[in-house]
Subunit: 250 residues, 2 copies
DNA sequence: TCTATTCGTTGATTTTAATCAAAAACAAAT
DNA sequence: ATTTGTTTTTGATTAAAATCAACGAATAGA
């Protein structure tokens, strides 16, 4: 499961399935309609593939930034570590998604990226990407959109953390997972989470016990069925309502 | 943690105050060491200045994205609005900072930008910026750093919202304000906040009463003096300890 | 297959922040 | 100076989530 297949959040499956061999091409070039010459240029950017075993690090905080990473297969989390031991999972990353954008600002990685299952990524040397994006304006623009989308996503998480109750946060999280799975050709309502309750909790600003209780509550209400990491959504609509407003009774 | 918004941070005050007439030049060109010709090119990008009265909107959610905005003077907030009435202040923005990065992703503004005092901004048409950044690689790279820094900042807020207690959040917020004021040549320990308790609360994921109580608590402990919007920090070190980040000594 | 360890659930209790409510302080306009 | 509306503070109470604790269930490794 969640081995590789097609990817890419917002591009049609038809596009995604097409020729392009490497994952970074899928993520970066396909949607912008390049000609053959341009595709060839871009192909040269992706110099290296890396495998990361489950539990292994793609990068650590403070290490030198050299490349962005496009997830070819697998599943990763990113988290920031504070000196005082505080920790926050800032994201989960699936096939077709881009990691490392935070590191551009200081040329150092500001977070850890850990594989939650055996994963494969393509390295995209950033300076090369900047070079060729000068000659391919549509690529540059697309890259800007990707960065911007990350900002919008983070604002969404801020909203979640700032104003939602535990159950709403979990509903929101499950719907987000669902959406990302279905885009990749998996079931919208039936999937395995790769992360622990603690990791979900860290991402959602909750303790693991609270996450567990929220799962149980949603199950009691017959909105989902939980079996450890396996989730079955019985009623997407009601899950959306859960996320929307708690006051609107069950 | 709670890293400040881009701009100024890494450039000296001397630079910031220097010749450059427009704010966007201050923000975008100074740090990258352009030659005269390049500065001239960049100068053409800034076509328009806008004044926004206190309470007025720089942009609304859903409106078409055309330009980034560099704050020339004043103080703004950005906030996202959900259909269900939920609201989240995503940032406060001072002189030299750049707004609108979120809008690149969909060509629509995803948030409201409201002036908290009479403000002035420079419009930077985004397509023009992309155009000239093709011929000025250092400008392009600098722009990427700015976007990346916004992502890092947002991750810092996520950490705050996900793992800090009310008082820690407020301490973090005050230290962030302090840092940003001092960069602009104002007092590090003595300043007026432009936003209400409610707006602080929204940003910090707290209710206004909780914010007020946290202020009172810090005052009781003789760490700050509060007079409505006027804040005097009596003990920066203890405020840092409050935040839980004692190792980050100045 | 078995064991050690991690992971997940649930209950009881405490802590924290939200909510409800009222009054004081302040700002803007008359 | 007075009124009006907004903002801030503080207190009392309730609600939500954290914490503490115990126990199964699942998983990885021997």
């Amino acid at each position: 499961m969640l081995t590789e297949r097609f990817s890419a959040k917002d591009f049609s499956v038809a596009q995604i399935r097409s020729s392009c061999a490497t994952c970074s091409l899928r993520e970066l070039c396909l949607p912008v309609g390049l000609n053959d010459e341009e595709v060839a240029m871009l192909g040269e950017v992706v110099v290296h593939k890396r495998k990361i075993q489950r539990g292994g690090y793609l990068h650590r905080t403070g290490t030198k930034f050299q490349a962005l990473y496009a997830v070819k297969s697998g599943f990763l989390k990113t988290c920031i570590l504070e000196e005082d031991g505080r920790q926050q999972v800032t994201g989960f990353h699936m096939t077709g998604e881009l990691l490392g954008l935070d590191a551009i600002s200081t040329d150092m990685h500001t977070c850890e990226a850990v594989a939650l299952e055996d994963s494969e990524v393509c390295e995209i040397p950033f300076s090369k990407l900047e070079d060729i994006s000068r000659t391919i304006p549509s690529l540059m623009h697309h890259f800007h959109k990707i960065m911007s989308r990350e900002i919008v996503r983070d604002h969404g998480v801020m909203l979640l953390l700032g104003s939602m109750k535990a159950e709403e946060r979990l509903a929101s999280f499950l719907l987000n997972m669902s959406r990302r799975f279905v885009i990749r050709g998996y079931s919208e309502t039936d999937f395995n989470l790769r992360m622990t309750r603690e990791e979900i909790g860290s991402y959602l600003g909750l303790k693991l016990e609270t996450v567990s209780r929220a799962f149980s509550k949603l199950q009691e209400e017959a909105i989902i069925v939980v079996n450890n990491k396996h989730i079955k959504i019985l009623n997407l609509e009601r899950l959306k309502i859960k996320m929307g407003n708690s006051s609107c009774a069950t």
